[in-house]
């Protein structure tokens, strides 16, 4: 593995290796001394063209726990906001000797481009690109499901997962569908037809327009963030109607099996796709998702940077 650009490029063995490694990292993170010397002398750049404090901090903590040097390169207050291109930024980072670039970008495919355009030599980790993918989020979601539903072992064969909300604009949904399919889970996407991409029937999952039909049949339900501004583009009539038809509130949660977990990639829109009551309930695992995110990202950084570079270099 040289880069992590898409959850779809992970085969089952590699995905399980990452999850197993993350489990070890998680155990190490419970010690009083949380720092490991593994990536001493390596430089990880967080290159964020989009604001996402939580994802950046998660990567930063993961890299620091492995003793890597971390440079945060934010679009705001840097040459990027003055209009420096991704390419020029990349060349700068290359000159500084970045071993890995963790990139969050508004443009779908920007990490792929960064990895393949011969601008840099280091590893590229996709921390969310446009409406395309967010592979480490899918990995931490799979990790969380495995821990709760499979005792932290093996893959996710037979686990039934509902993903509800703005699938069209969701990189989390895309990465989850791909990874969960690789790990053997059964996914049902739930959304109004306006928020499902054209061609969804070819995706390796089921699709439903009705959340109430799906809730009783799942082991995990993932609520996606829905921006209320979407109604301006006529994706749905009003935030109130969206919330009524697709939001997860206390009453509706009773349809969920008792063992099922409620997930959300954050940040939550309480009152929109999820009610405060559900978000704070015992079945909600959002806080744990955050902690698992650090372990999964440590695993990814270790597996990308912890060994020799590929022989092709």
């Amino acid at each position: 593995m040289r880069h992590l650009l898409s959850a779809g490029e992970l085969d089952r063995d590699t995905a399980l290796l990452i999850l197993d490694t993350a489990a070890e990292m998680s155990a190490l993170s419970e010690r009083s001394v949380k720092k490991l010397p593994t990536l001493r002398g390596r430089t990880v750049v967080n290159l964020f063209f989009e604001d996402s404090t939580r994802t950046r901090i998660s990567f930063e903590l993961a890299a620091k726990r492995l003793s890597a040097d971390v440079i945060n390169f934010a679009a705001k207050g840097s040459s990027v906001s003055k209009g420096e291109s991704l390419k020029d930024t990349a060349l700068t980072l290359e000159a500084m000797g970045a071993d890995a670039v963790v990139i969050r970008h508004w443009d779908s495919g920007a990490p792929y481009r960064l990895a393949h355009a011969n601008w840099i030599g280091g590893s590229v980790i996709n921390a969310g690109d446009g409406t395309h993918e967010h592979p480490t989020q899918a990995l931490l979601d799979a990790y969380t499901m495995r821990k709760h539903l499979r005792g932290g072992q093996g893959a996710l064969e037979g686990v039934r997962v509902g993903i509800v909300g703005d699938v069209l604009h969701s990189r989390v949904a895309r990465s989850n569908v791909l990874l969960l399919q690789t790990l053997g889970a059964e996914v049902t996407l739930v959304a109004p037809p306006t928020l499902l991409p054209i061609g969804i029937e070819e995706w390796p999952c089921e699709v439903s327009y009705h959340i109430d039909e799906v809730l009783p049949k799942v082991d995990a339900i993932m609520m996606l963030r829905v921006q209320s501004e979407r109604m301006k583009d006529a994706y749905f009539p009003t935030a109130r109607e969206y919330s009524r038809l697709y939001g997860l509130g206390g009453e509706r949660m009773k349809l969920l099996p008792e063992h099922a977990i409620v997930m959300h990639p954050g940040p939550m829109n309480r009152g929109m796709e999820i009610s405060a009551e559900v978000a704070d309930s015992a079945q909600a695992v959002m806080v744990e998702q955050v902690a698992n995110g650090v372990s999964v990202r440590m695993a990814v950084l270790y597996l990308l940077l912890g060994g020799a570079k590929e022989l092709s270099e």
């Binding site: 495919g109 393949h116 895309r174 054209i198």
Partner: protein
């Protein structure tokens, strides 16, 4: 002035002859080896009327870093063209007699091809007020083709008026069919792949809906419509239906829409970013069929040079468009001639005769006969070549065909009886 003899050439791939040119006109067609004058070897090569491009972005004035009328003229001549229509989306926009005359004059001075300026339909391409179509038509440039290309004349009323107004000047409105609301921030063909790649889709219906509306408008007002760069199977159906009703509509297809498909977008390499976007294999096959049966009248390059920095970047920031002049003939050969969809007379018809007629260019698209103006291209159908972007004459190098091998080489080009290209080099 001595005669020029294109010796042993096969017009339309038929029997070998000597084509004798005097004072810009084909004066004699003789048995091979019998013509007297300056001999230009063309044994076994094929002569066709010089190609006419209905859709070229020469970028001058305004973006001379991407292309100039001079470099564009060279690329055109090397591609076998003797006439191109220079699109109006320059800076300033070609929306006045002044701008179109300037472009036309520079083209004349360079003298490699006919540069026929296209006039903007609306002022600054803004889609709100008609530009001075009459002034441009009556200028020295004699503009006949009007287009806001790059943008769609989406206001139905304005489109109706434009179609009506150009009738007075024998003009045609060339529509870039793209419903703007359906294509906001669109990046690629909308379909399964756009959903997977997380890219905003450019649905086929956004093209088809505008073409459907416009053929009905053209029928209603009795005017002439030309559909630019038709890219979908649905558009082909609409045009076929309109022609069967007797609507005065013509259509063009680009070489890249005859050859390339949307799968290339998965590389995220912006060299494949173009508007309208690359479509599905089914669309490509429908377009080839339509060009073969004449539903689509012409091949037009949509040659769109962009400076390196506008393509060597991430997809979303990249400019749309690709070079086309020097590869057009080879693409047509690979997609139409080799599979048997077009013979050489068919190539002449779709790349020269019909585009000249659509653009009302009286001096182009003549049959290779005694008395015809000598705008001629001589090609080698048996030779192959490999595209090296930096070696193209264009100032830009955004060809999607880097390192690709093609059949068919343009060997000589004659413009108004003078050789502009000899042995594959500017004469």
């Amino acid at each position: 002035m001595t005669a020029i003899v294109i010796q042993g050439v096969r017009p339309y791939g038929e029997d070998a002859v000597d084509l004798v040119i005097n004072d810009g006109v084909i004066t004699e067609i003789l048995a091979p080896g019998t013509g007297v004058g300056t001999i230009i070897e063309a044994d076994g090569l094929i002569a066709l009327p010089g190609f006419v491009d209905l859709h070229t972005h020469l970028r001058e004035p305004g973006r001379e870093d991407a292309e100039t009328i001079e470099t564009g003229s060279q690329a055109a001549a090397l591609g076998g063209f003797t006439c191109v229509h220079a699109m109006a989306n320059t800076d300033p926009v070609a929306d006045t007699a002044g701008v179109v005359e300037q472009v036309w004059r520079i083209g004349r001075e360079i003298g490699l091809i006919d540069v026929r300026p296209v006039g903007a339909v609306t002022v600054r391409l803004e889609g709100t007020q008609l530009s001075e179509i009459g002034a441009m038509a009556n200028s020295a440039a004699g503009v006949t083709v009007f287009s806001d290309d790059g943008k769609c004349v989406h206001d139905a009323l304005l489109m109706r008026r434009a179609l009506e107004y150009v009738k007075a000047f024998g003009g045609v409105v060339a529509q870039h069919a793209q419903e703007p609301r359906l294509t906001e921030n669109a990046q690629m063909n909308e379909g399964e792949l756009s959903g997977k790649l997380g890219m905003v889709g450019w649905p086929a219906v956004a093209e088809e809906a505008i073409i459907a509306r416009d053929v009905l408008l053209a029928e209603h007002v009795g005017s002439r419509l030309h559909a630019c760069h038709v890219s979908t199977a649905g558009s082909v159906e609409v045009i076929r239906w309109a022609k069967s009703r007797g609507v005065n509509v013509t259509a063009e297809v680009t070489p890249h829409h005859l050859l390339l498909t949307e799968d290339l977008v998965a590389t995220y390499d912006p060299v494949f970013k173009v508007n309208p976007p690359l479509r599905s294999t089914a669309d490509v096959l429908a377009l080839r069929q339509a060009l073969a049966d004449g539903t689509i009248d012409a091949v037009a390059t949509d040659h769109a040079p962009h400076p390196h920095e506008h393509k060597d970047c991430e997809w979303g920031s990249a400019a749309m468009g690709m070079l086309g002049l020097q590869t057009a003939f080879s693409v047509v050969m690979e997609t139409m001639v080799e599979p048997g969809l077009l013979d050489w007379r068919g190539v002449a018809d779709r790349m020269s005769v019909r585009p000249a007629r659509i653009g009302a260019v009286a001096t182009q698209g003549h049959a290779l006969e005694v008395g015809a103006l000598a705008n001629i291209v001589v090609v080698d159908p048996d030779a192959r070549w490999t595209v090296v972007p930096e070696q193209l004459a264009s100032k830009s190098s955004n060809t999607p065909y880097a390192a690709r091998e093609f059949p068919g080489v343009v060997v000589h080009t004659f413009f108004e009886g003078r050789p502009t290209v000899l042995g594959g080099k500017i004469a």
